[in-house]
């Protein structure tokens, strides 16, 4: 009992320039498959015997990979033990490359894409961490507007539906990395997850999209430690103009929040902006992103 694979004919083979200027070569080859087996082989067995799997290279052009294998009668009716089939194989230099030889969509690779997100932001420090101040050493009111680029990485993958926990999609969205992830320090990467249920053929799976947004300043809100009141000996006292050495209407309350020291007292004007500080708010939960297994 044996089989044979006979190269019958080539073509049509083409090499074309696409509109983009890219040259794409395509090859087609027809094989005659014969076996003297007592029972007819399945298509999968024929494909295995021919030995050409999707994604494999063309015998003479390794840059062209197999994009289709078609099994047909071709030679007319055949009966065992004289079973025969035509096997038409097509290769192309622009064929997508599978991760492995499987029709299971969950075996596809995790695919990444990167892009900057442009965001208008008012900054009080430059990129070296130095406070932005005027010639008098005072910060600009409200900071200065700049367009910052925040990195965004998107990962797509398919996950089998068996045992899939949909709750984690929403529960984990918005969380920050608790450990270094993608090179970003803890708290600098925020994840959003979306998932779409798919029924393809006999496969039931979820198509997941992970969007990681990176902000070197971290995602937890950091309002300036400032207010209209300061802590005094007998509780809170309203900050007035004279507290700032402002002789104009010295007893009038200040019209804008004034920066405070960590102990709740006013930052002396002479110590601004050096002693100005921020309060970190724990607004987002965190988790170890490595558990995603991307």
């Amino acid at each position: 009992m044996a089989f044979s694979v006979q190269w019958l004919v080539d073509g049509p083979n083409t090499s074309r320039i696409e509109q983009s200027g890219r040259i794409v070569s395509k090859y087609k080859r027809t094989y005659l498959y014969k076996t003297d087996a007592a029972s007819p082989p399945t298509d999968a067995q024929i494909t295995t015997d021919v030995g050409i799997a999707p994604g494999s290279p063309h015998p003479d052009d390794a840059n062209a990979t197999c994009q289709s294998v078609e099994i047909s009668h071709g030679v007319g009716p055949t009966k065992c033990p004289h079973f025969a089939r035509h096997v038409v194989v097509e290769w192309a230099t622009n064929a997508p490359v599978p991760n492995t030889v499987s029709t299971d969509p969950t075996t596809m690779r995790t695919r990444w894409s990167l892009a900057p997100t442009i965001q208008q932001r008012y900054i009080v420090r430059d990129r070296n961490g130095a406070m932005i101040v005027n010639a008098a050493g005072q910060p600009f009111d409200g900071g200065i507007p700049v367009a910052v680029r925040l990195g965004t990485a998107v990962a797509r993958r398919n996950v089998t539906a068996a045992g899939y926990n949909q709750n984690t999609v929403l529960a984990n969205s918005g969380k920050l990395n608790s450990t270094t992830f993608l090179g970003g320090a803890a708290g600098t990467i925020q994840v959003d997850i979306s998932a779409e249920e798919k029924y393809d053929g006999g496969y039931h799976y979820w198509e997941e999209v992970y969007t990681f947004a990176y902000d070197p300043l971290g995602w937890q809100p950091k309002p300036m430690n400032a207010g209209f009141f300061q802590k005094g000996t007998y509780g809170l006292t309203r900050i007035i103009n004279s507290d700032l050495d402002d002789t104009n209407d010295p007893l009038a309350p200040v019209q804008e929040p004034e920066p405070l020291l960590p102990d709740g007292t006013l930052v002396p004007v002479d110590d601004r902006p050096g002693l100005c500080n921020f309060i970190t708010v724990d607004a987002y939960g965190s988790m170890d992103f490595s558990t995603f297994g991307l």
Partner: protein, 102 residues
């Protein structure tokens, strides 16, 4: 017959040029997984990708000469494979050449 059919049980890198053409049809070219990192300027960066390599993927059924097949069998990278169609023969000469020879 000196040829042997084997089935790979794990991914094995292979030098494509050293293979008989009839055995190339089971090879896949793989890119090692590369994940983006955050660069010094706050941008996501993709680290340099290692070169892509051809390999026999897990599950590939390949017919090789006995000597080469034995290497894979000895290392446990592959196991003997026997389908109901047995050992095959491949006529890979160009069709017109064969016609002339006949």
């Amino acid at each position: 017959m000196s040829d042997v059919r084997i089935k790979f049980v794990r991914d094995v890198p292979v030098d494509l040029d050293s293979l008989p053409k009839s055995a190339r049809g089971q090879c896949l070219k793989m890119s090692p997984a590369v994940r983006p990192i955050v660069g010094a300027n706050g941008q996501m960066l993709m680290p340099p990708s290692p070169p892509r390599v051809w390999h026999f993927p897990t599950g590939a059924v390949v017919q090789l000469n006995a000597e080469r097949a034995a290497k894979y069998l000895e290392t446990g990278a592959a196991e003997p494979y026997e389908s109901h169609t047995g050992i095959g023969t491949y006529l890979t000469a160009e069709a017109e050449e064969r016609k002339g020879a006949v």
